[in-house]
Subunit: 289 residues, 2 copies
């Protein structure tokens, strides 16, 4: 066995569920303390047949980044309060899971009883100065569901309270952000107005204007007619406003096999059936629609 591994204390570590190792450093440490411990640990982990090594460095431990990279670690991802590095020790095919790769947005289609659609004009972004009236849009937050993000964005931008109804469609747009490496998926969601919130109170910093617009006028805007993707989406909204046959995906609230909060979005007829045939405990949850 390696002499260094026997004599030098190791970094504190835990096994992960995939034959790997997790190290979570939060306390200040000098490079002189860190490097021999890391090297001895790597010898030990190799001896144990460990595969992927996760090294999480909290804010303030920037001095350990270059030494870790010198020992073969690479960046995996970062959040505002930590940096995650990773090293693959095994000769086998690298199975380190991918970093988050997508951003999820929503566009909200809300129709009132006069067949008017809720539209906004945005400050900043690609629509600024175009005069185009567009559906309220926004980005889903970490840990937030598509249905919840759609309800939140509509209320934040316009003050209108709604209930999620269906995902009507979604679009994938590649090379969209983060140095043009990541993909943006936008769910076109239909929402129902809650009673008594007809009056618009627009958000001030991101929205120039918000109003109810006759659906045909919205659809026929030159922008929506000239840009194929927008025309397709506008026509789906128009179809819905005419009560023509178009079935989207609704949500069924459930849990994963390990008990985490989870939602299944499926064909609305099927979702209604699933929700209707479940026990009262399930169907009475506020998010089971």
């Amino acid at each position: 066995m390696d002499v260094e591994a026997q004599e030098t204390p190791l970094l504190q570590w835990k096994p992960d569920d995939y034959g790997g190792v997790k190290v979570n450093l939060t306390e200040p440490m000098t490079t002189e303390d860190f490097v021999p411990k890391l090297r001895a640990s790597l010898v030990e982990w190799r001896n144990q047949g460990k595969k992927g090594i996760w090294l999480k460095l909290a804010d303030g431990l920037e001095n350990l980044i270059a030494p870790a990279k010198a020992e073969g670690f690479k960046y995996h991802h970062a959040e505002s309060d930590y940096l995650m590095l990773v090293s693959w020790l095994s000769d086998l095919h690298n199975t380190i899971p991918a970093n988050a790769s997508h951003r999820i947005g929503i566009a909200a289609f809300v129709l009132n009883s006069n067949r008017e659609v809720l539209v906004v004009q945005e400050i900043g972004g690609p629509f600024d100065g175009t005069g185009v009236w567009k559906l309220p849009t926004g980005v889903i937050k970490e840990g937030e569901g598509v249905w919840a993000g759609a309800e939140r964005e509509v209320e934040e931008e316009t003050g209108i309270k709604t209930t999620f109804k269906e995902v009507l469609a979604f679009r994938e747009s590649h090379k969209s952000f983060s140095e043009k490496r990541k993909t943006d998926i936008m769910f076109l969601c239909e929402l129902n107005m809650k009673p008594g919130t007809f009056e618009i109170k627009k958000e001030k910093t991101e929205i120039y204007a918000a109003k109810w617009m006759p659906i045909e006028e919205y659809v026929n805007q030159p922008w929506n007619q000239e840009k194929e993707l927008f025309r397709f989406m506008a026509n789906i909204c128009l179809k819905r406003s005419q009560e023509m046959e178009y079935v989207g995906f609704s949500t069924v609230r459930t849990t994963t096999s390990t008990g985490r909060e989870s939602y299944l979005y499926c064909n609305t007829d099927h979702a209604n059936l699933l929700n209707a045939t479940r026990g009262p405990a399930s169907t009475s949850t506020p998010t089971s629609r």
Copy 2:
């Protein structure tokens, strides 16, 4: 005007599209060279009313991380070859766009003409050792479409060549990865076998076994019956195998308003209509299904 800003050279920078600044450092720089330039640049950017400052540090520039953080920068995200820091200079509401927050996976439902479904047993992961036969699953790569990722995963895991047909449903699973902060969305996709590839050639390092299994036997596995989310999804597959009414989302290939590759996934009847009524140039593209 600040004396330092007049006398010290600035960092090289470009404006972004949202009133911010992009700095992309790739060449080695000493801390002594970097800090005064960064400070002078920050003074200048504030004077110009710039809001968000993006600082991209390539591999090898780890020495600049701590000094940048000392001037108010925070991590935004990292990829294997760079680290992105960001600082918000403005008093206005911080509109720095979110980091990627989701990982997108697929589960592939492939049925042969004997009403048998393509299933696998995985090495590693939560199913290891359970004996459960499951649909081939995988993670969508950066820049890859849902339809393309589904086709790729099936072929990688089983050797079976397929063509994407529909998204049947999708599930959201919160607090799923990256320190339990991020959300996993998994699209349940139906794919059609291409002629002449009936024979399975399983992948060696991640798959114990792969086979064709009668659909009822697949659905009736205790795991699928006991776990609600799996039961819901298995029943959608069963419904499709019985040629019962269940309409999902198909793809229509298009571009965004700025010309980037883009796909709209919408109700299959509607997608078929859109694809059928477009010109030959559109309908002949291999990915217009």
